[in-house]
Each structure stands twice: as structure tokens, then as C-alpha cells.
Amino acid sequence: MPTQPDHQIPDITVFLDPAGYPVHELPEFSRDREALVEMYSAMVKTRTFDAKAISLQRTGRLGTYASSLGQEAIAVGIASAMTKEDVLLPSFREHGAQLWRGVSLEELFLYWGGDERGNDFANARQDFPVCIPVASQFPHAAGVGLAIVQKDEPGVAVAIGGDGATSKGDFYEALNVVGAWMLPVVFVIANNQWAISVPRLDQTRARTLADKAVAAGIPGEQVDGNDVIAVREATERALTRARNGKGGTLIECLTYRLGDHTTADDASRYRDDEDVSPHWSEEPLVRLRAYLVAHHGWAKEDEETLLRDCRDQIEKAAETYLATPPQPAQAIFEYLYADQPQDLIAQAGEMDDV
């Protein structure tokens, strides 16, 4: 890919078209079968997790859940570009990125099942938990970027949000300080075209969401968010830029929300099946599988083995989650402050007295 000068919106970065045909020479990392299979497997695992989470929610065994159906390439593409020193600040649809970074399936089930321990990651200890108040994670990323600069660490803060998040002040304000202070931060917008019921064009009249980087004086670019190779390549470039002291980047990943907003949503209230169905031909698993089949001998047995492995892992994790008893009631008091104040000790006692 030719390098584009800052402040210009380059063309949309894409390597594999929806049918899996390469439209540009593939970047170095994707010439390796193993690397591609790893990314493909991570996307399949994410989708399998998604299906299990929804089925658990539908049967009353999980809380409200935000599906990442169709957006697996964004999560996996970003995370696969990151190093251990980097810090992930997700919104709430990046299960695939969390899994790649070492968050366990059991932890994800626990979190979505309504248990705070799901955020106490055994790995990825510096990563932030899911962020529900839309766009409020972007200022945190600026703060992590600041800490990285002050401590002279090698990492980069990577925050992800949706298209709706770009309408919020937090997004603009954080983007602005990242520009002003040249902080090592990458902002990724997973533009799935819908903020619950509001379509992208009703959200903003901006030409692209990447254009919003212009106001902050940092580069912004659009990426085919259904092409995991493109997402990873663009993220790698942005990370390198940040690591070299050149500051932040805004990456807009174009995708489509194939499912409901969450399990509490019914998308048929505001969009028709005919709106959604064309996007099924563009989703990210199909194209990478097609490429693997055509260029790396990915066989039916490989696919079946992968699916079976994913299902086994996820069933096992779900069983562990379902068998995990809730925390003791007193836990609600125990993590408010490092030292529990008298007030809370007294209130905890009241709970015990009943």
C-alpha cells in the first residue's frame, strides 16, 4: 500500500474482496498460512462464543448480551496487530479482541452473566474492561497514552467504539487531546451502520467518520472492516506510527451489524430483512475462508475440526461458568475502597443482621 500523507483521507484499505480474491498484494504477515489460520480460527471462535452466549441468554442463563456477529474481523484484526505492552480499551462488542489478548471464555461468560469477577482478567491485566457508557473509554485511552509517555513505556493505547460514539463529545475531546499532545493512542471506530435503531446517515452528515480526525489534526482512514487482513495492516501502521512518537490515528472500520443491538433489542422494529441480507455476502469469515481454501488448501476436514474444537472449548467454558457460584453477598462492599471505611463496615453489618 502506498503511504498517504497525514491529513488526507486515503482510499479504503482492503486486501480481500467479499469473495476472497486479493485486490492488492497481501502484506507480509498474511503470506504465512499459520498466521491466517490463527486469525480465521479466532474469528470462528468469536462467532461460536456469540451463538452460545445468545442461546444462554435466551434460556435465562446469561444477562443482556451484545452480539459481535459480522464484526469479528475488527476485533481480531486489531488485537492481532497489538503487542503485550499495548493496552486495549474496548467498548462492548469486541469479544474477539479480548479473547485474542488472553481474556478467557469463562471470564467473558462471567461478565455477561452479571459477575464482576469476569473483569478481573487473569491475563491482559492492564487492559480495560468493557465500557458501556458510549465513548467514555476514549478519554481513558488518552490517559493511558499519557501514562505511557510519562513512564517512557513502549506501549500504545487502543480504544474501540461504534459509529454512534463519534457523535459524543468525549470522542472529539479525547481525539483532540491525543492530537494536541501527540499521544500514542489509536482510536478505532467499528462503523456497523447502526447505533441501536439510528442508521449511520442519520447519525452524522460527515462524509466519513474518519474525516473527524481532521479536526484533531491526526490522520484518519477507512478500512474494510470485514477484511481482517486490512484491519490488522492498518492497525499495525497506526501502532508503528504511535510507537515512533508520531501520535494518534483514527481508523474507521466499515462493517455491518448483522444481529440485533443486544439481546434486549428487536431490530425488526426499525429495519427490514432485505436491508440486512445483502450484507451477509460481505461478512468476514466467508472471505478469509475462501482465500484459505483457494491458496492454502484449507479443507472441509480442517473446517470441521476447527468448529468442533471451538464448540468443545466454549461448551466447557459455559459449563464452568454455570457451575461457578455467585460471590458472597459481602463482596458488594469489599472493593469500593482499598481500605473499607467505617460507614461501609456498618452497612455490611446491617446486611448480615437481617
Partner: protein
């Protein structure tokens, strides 16, 4: 030991904190070369460099949100909001993140940050510059809210706030910034962060106040002493969590309580203290608990401001009322 003002004591504590911990970083609007609009950070950028004392863009949500991110990633940010009237965009970050991070990650990520902000009236400032919003902040679980009332307490409490492992909103009564001088030793000794301070001991009534109201309450206590009425004067200092024990013990002794705050009456912290005394000290009470507070009005512009502010006369009347009741 030199005499200094509260603003000088705050600067001294900030300087001490920058000296003793390389993770301390100060940021906010105009805190750099300008030294802050009240000069709390005067000279610090020059002394510690622009990377540790940083001028932010004009974005309160980002000031608070960046403090959350930096604190969670190992820094000790001491951020400034220029006036509490401009703090509201930061409330989202305080309520949804700073106060919850430890709890929601079960202690994996923490938020040792301080958000300083001048608050309160009495200096004829423009509108949106004089409000007292401590009750709003004290209602947030997981946050600490601290208010000093004198230079020495500002020094000790600010050091305590910066060293505390949890988020602290540190509200500075700007009316006191330059009004009082007292000896402050720059000895690095912090005050306990969660204890009320008994400033004066008496027998007849308990006066509870904080921030600039301590000045009026002390004046009232002086005048009452001349009339032979002695009071416990308690500086609450920590508004979240509240040191209920100190207040209860005092009221169990005196049997009468007057609570003074600048913030509006309804759902103010006076209500919390009064409710606590009603629940725990009913049999000690000789008279109804009285509150002397700002009114449930919008903070008046400077020409009418004095009518809003609780003052010595109103405090005296309330104490006389409770003394006459029994």
C-alpha cells in the same frame, strides 16, 4: 515554620507530592505557565517541567477521563477543574468510571487520582463560579470528597488525597484561599483522610461545618463564648465517607446540633448528618437539630450573593434557638 495562605499551602503540598513521587502529574486548564487562575500551581511548570505540569485543552470531560486512564495505568494524576461550575462534564467520568474501576475489576485496576476544584461563594465571582456541589459528589459510591477549611488542613489533606489509593475530589473553598494565614510546616505529614476534626471543645451545643463556613462558625463560637455558651466546633473535612462517630460522640455530650453548609438545603449533607443523629442519638438530643444552609435557589449574582450565604448572624440565631428549646 512560615505563615501562609491556603493557596500557598496547596502549592506547597503539590510541590511536595511532585518531589516525592515521580508518578505524580498535574494537569488542567491554565495550570502550566500561568500557574492556574488562582495561582495554585504557580511556578510548578517552571520548576518541574511542562511534562509533569501540563496545560490541557479546554475539555473537562477529558481532564477527568484522562485522569482515570492515567491513574489506572500507574500514574498519580492531580487534575484541576477550574471552577466547580465547569465540573459537570466531568461527573460522567467520576460517577461511571473513577469511582467504580476498583469495584468493577475486583481490584485489578484502581484509580488513585485527585480532582481539585475551587468551590463556593463569597468572592463576588461571575455566575457559574460560586456553587457548592459537594452533596452531588458525596452521593457517588466509591468516591472520596474532601474539603479543607484552613491552610494547614489544606496542606495535610491534599497530601493525604494524593497518597490515597482511591479517587478523591478535593474541593477548595476559594473564599478562604487568601483570607486566612496560619503557620504551615512543609514536613510532608498528611492528615487522616477520613476523620472529622474537632476544632474546639464545648459543652452546650455541637456546630458542624466545612470549608469556608468554618470561618463563620468559629466567629459564632467566639461570640457565644462571651455569652457563656460553649460549643464543640467540628470541621467535617471528609464529606465522603463521613466520620459519623466524631459527630455522634459530640452530640451525645452536648445534646444539641447545628449543621452549617453553603450548599442548598434540600438533600444537602446536613440532611444526612441530621438523619444519622436522629437514628443513633435520639435519646441524647435536647432540642431539634437545626440546619443553617444556603437556600434552594440558584446561586445569586454577586449583588445579592450576601443574602444567600449563611453567616454568623444566622448561625447565632440557630444556636440560640436550640439553647432556648431546652
Amino acid at each position: 515554620m512560615s505563615e501562609c495562605t491556603m493557596i500557598e499551602a496547596i502549592r506547597m503540598a503539590l510541590s511536595r507530592a511532585l518531589d516525592e513521587n515521580p508518578d505524580v502529574v498535574i494537569f488542567g486548564e491554565d495550570v502550566g505557565i500561568d500557574g492556574g487562575v488562582f495561582r495554585a500551581t504557580d511556578g510548578l511548570a517552571q520548576r518541574y517541567g511542562a511534562s509533569r505540569v501540563r496545560d490541557t485543552p479546554l475539555s473537562e470531560a477529558v481532564i477527568a477521563g484522562m485522569a482515570v486512564g492515567a491513574a489506572a495505568h500507574g500514574m498519580r494524576p492531580v487534575a484541576e477543574i477550574q471552577f466547580t461550575g465547569f465540573l459537570y462534564p466531568a461527573l460522567d467520568q467520576l460517577a461511571n468510571h473513577a469511582s467504580r474501576l476498583r469495584n468493577r475489576t475486583r481490584g485489578r485496576l484502581t484509580c488513585p487520582m485527585v480532582l481539585r476544584a475551587p468551590y463556593g461563594g463569597g468572592i463576588k465571582a461571575p455566575e457559574h463560579h460560586s456553587e457548592s456541589i459537594e452533596a452531588m459528589l458525596a452521593h457517588i459510591p466509591g468516591l472520596r470528597v474532601v474539603i479543607p477549611s484552613s491552610p494547614a488542613r489544606a496542606y495535610g489533606l491534599l497530601l493525604a488525597a494524593i497518597r490515597d489509593p482511591d479517587p478523591v475530589v478535593f474541593l477548595e473553598p476559594k473564599r478562604v484561599y487568601r483570607a486566612i494565614r496560619e503557620p504551615v510546616e512543609d514536613d510532608g505529614v498528611a492528615l487522616p483522610i477520613d476523620q472529622a476534626i474537632v476544632l474546639r471543645e464545648g459543652a452546650d451545643a455541637t456546630l458542624v461545618a466545612w470549608g469556608a463556613m468554618i470561618t463563620d462558625a468559629r466567629e459564632a463560637a467566639d461570640q457565644l463564648a462571651e455569652l457563656g455558651i460553649s460549643v464543640d466546633l467540628i470541621d467535617l473535612a471528609s464529606l465522603k465517607p463521613i466520620d459519623r462517630g466524631t459527630i455522634r460522640s459530640s452530640v451525645e455530650k452536648t445534646g444539641r446540633c447545628v449543621i452549617v453548609h453553603e450548599a442548598p438545603l434540600t438533600a444537602g449533607l446536613g440532611a444526612e448528618i441530621a438523619a444519622d443523629l436522629a437514628e443513633h442519638c435520639l435519646t441524647s438530643l435536647l432540642a431539634p437539630i437545626r440546619r443553617v444552609t444556603g437556600f434552594d435557589t440558584v446561586m445569586p449574582y454577586p449583588r445579592l450573593e450576601a443574602h444567600y450565604m449563611p453567616d454568623t448572624a444566622r448561625i447565632l440565631k440557630a444556636v440560640h434557638d436550640v439553647m432556648e428549646f431546652a
